[in-house]
Amino acid sequence: MPADNGQRPEEASIYAKNLVRRFGDFVAVDGVSFRVEKGEIFGFLGPNGSGKTTVIKMLTGLLPLSEGSACVEGLDVRTDAESVRERIGYMSQKFSLYDDLTVTENLQFYGRIYSLPPARMKQRIEEIVQLNGLGPYMNRLAARLSGGWKQRLALGCAMLHEPKLLFLDEPTAGIDPVARRELWDLLFELSGHGITFFVTTHYMDEAERCSHVAYIYYGKLIADGTPVELKKIPDVQPTGTKRVEINTPEVTRALRVARKIPGIRSATIFGESIHALVEDSFDLPDLRAQLLKNDITVTDIRPLTPSLEDVFVELTYKHQAQLETVRE
């Protein structure tokens, strides 16, 4: 596991070991360990209510840890929460801005919060504006910015004090595709300057862009690694199986048929096609023949490398199956 690769915790941007958080009897976070290196874009994924926000709250010192330890930027969050907060930035999915303040006033407010001296604040605001292009809107009320600009302003506010680590909680929820792409370009540029990003998202294409992803499922971390590493996990790609993409005009009917064919372990719809995990011994022309027998027109069948979504789907199934065996 990357969490225990022998390096010292102080050298990592985030070092979490066996994080546990209980609310009464309910275990919201159950033994989560991971390590985020400096300059990484760390994608933290998981369904709603699986403990993502709780982990962020623990790492930012808002929630005491029930068990375990965590270091952020070399500081123990249990004892140094305050200093941790000086060094991190946080942007929520709501782009928490003050609607009735102007762009400048919003930026200045966060500058004062972090006690930047006036000259430094002026300089930082100029740098931020240069970076995100907010220049023409400086005197506009935040309420009157579009979603994309709001998000840029929120990011600007979160990084005014030059944090080494930025937590972005679903930064692209509800903004248009162009703004989404531009944000990611900006994140890559900043991470090039050594800033670490902790990003939660529901978009799989965004997860693919991260240099390091982890997947939390009902309090447990069930995947942790680079996207390339995760796609090679034996659970995702069991030995003796391969992934294929079946293109067909009638995906829903084809799916019902495909799931009944012996040799197909799992199948799911992906737009105009079906992604299936089939046994290696299963011949592709043979599969096409079997589908044709059931009146399914197949335009194309080809081998496929698993996507991150495939990875998470497989791991979730496996985890659910484990939970059920435990219950029995």
Binding site: Y90, S96, Y98, D99, S115
Partner: protein
């Protein structure tokens, strides 16, 4: 800025910007209470006067007319109708045209002349207890006076002569009694609502969540948010007092400075109450409802309208937990009775203790339910 209050300056400055930008809210929060004050100050008279009265004068001779004149001159009764029979007299009361019905019997004058007791029937609508009480008192007094005049020789003095003297409010003017109490209610209204809204608004926007991950300390945050509304509350107090003194001509017998000083712990209580509400409410609508829950006991159990002394024991106990009780004691004490710090320090202390208690509870709730939620 030292550590415990980190972020105070930034939050305070930002809050002032909010208030300045939203001048409509500022205007309404300052002037609506004044309007309420005008309505209540001019509109309500707790003295019972000119009660609508119907008279059935079965006698009609000089003695009976004298009695009716005495009733009229008391200022308590306004005779709106003379009726000719018992049925119409009853009907006047049932229909609501009259609150009091007076029946003078046919033999009223005859019996008086023959030194016999004459009975006058006074029917009183008991649905309003203060009107009924006043009607009983005045008619009894007039009856007693009539009797004495007939028994005693002219120019004789009464053996016992009660001479009531009203202190502090010699004319029994209602504004003098109501407005000092109203001050407490209006002030609570303004400060509690404004603070609760200011914090809940940040909850709704998500900016509060954002602030928690900055180095701002809870005390710096709360203090920075409260102080602007503290000043607004204080301005409101000055406006209300000015209106009270110069528009409603309520004289202030005590020290205005002391009143200002003792209003500080009261403002402290109402602001803390605002924080407490904001720690519970998730939306401004919820905050509004909760704020009303605090306003109602302040109106009914504080002695503002109903004297605390006559409340059933249960409500009297409640009244001790209502901050407005203490502040009304302070305002009435200073404004009407010219009381000094030696009379009122206990009330000030009680308010301060309540404010501290509420602030601690609110801060803890904030920590547990808002920050860690």
């Amino acid at each position: 800025m030292n550590n415990l209050f980190r972020g105070f300056g930034a939050v305070f400055y930002k809050e002032v910007l909010h208030v300045r930008r939203d001048s409509a809210t500022l205007f309404f929060s300052l002037f609506i209470p004044l309007i309420q004050m005008f309505v209540l100050g001019f509109g309500i008279d707790t003295n019972v006067r000119q009660v609508h009265t119907a008279v059935f004068n079965g006698d009609g001779r000089r003695e009976s007319r004298e009695l009716i004149d005495r009733l009229k001159n008391s200022d308590t009764f306004n005779i709106i109708d003379y009726v000719a029979n018992d049925h119409d007299l009853n009907d006047a009361i049932i229909s609501g045209r009259a609150r009091v019905g007076i029946k003078i019997p046919v033999d009223y004058s005859d019996r008086l002349i023959h030194n016999m007791s004459s009975q006058v029937l006074v029917l009183i609508d008991g649905s309003d207890s203060s009107v009924a009480g006043q009607a009983i008192n005045v008619t009894t007094a007039i009856g007693l006076d009539e009797s004495l005049r007939r028994v005693l020789p002219d120019r004789a003095t009464f053996a016992v002569d009660m001479r009531p003297k009203l202190l502090f409010n010699p004319d029994s003017r209602s504004p003098n009694f109501l407005l000092p109490g109203l001050t407490a209610i209006l002030l609570l209204n303004v400060t509690t609502f404004l603070t609760a809204f200011a914090i809940v608004r940040e909850k709704e926007r998500g900016t509060l969540e954002q602030l928690f991950v900055t180095p701002v300390r809870p005390f710096g945050l709360l203090l920075g948010k409260l102080l602007p509304y503290f000043f607004i509350g204080f301005t409101e107090l000055c406006l209300i007092l000015t209106c009270m003194r110069f528009v409603f001509q309520v004289p202030i017998h005590g020290s205005v400075l002391l009143l200002a000083l003792l209003s500080l712990p009261y403002l402290f209580v109402s602001l803390s109450l605002g924080i407490l509400i904001s720690s519970k409410a998730g939306t401004q609508g919820e905050a509004m409802q909760l704020a009303f829950v605090t306003i109602l006991p302040s109106i009914f159990f504080s002695g503002y309208i109903f004297p605390r002394e006559t409340m059933p024991i249960f409500f009297r106990v409640i009244s001790y937990f209502v901050p407005a009780s203490y502040f009304i004691n302070i305002t009435r004490g200073i404004i009407l009775r010219g009381a000094g710090i030696q009379h009122l320090w206990m009330d000030g202390l009680a308010l301060f203790a309540m404010g501290t208690f509420l602030l601690i509870v609110a801060a803890r709730r904030f920590q547990n339910k808002v920050i860690m939620a």
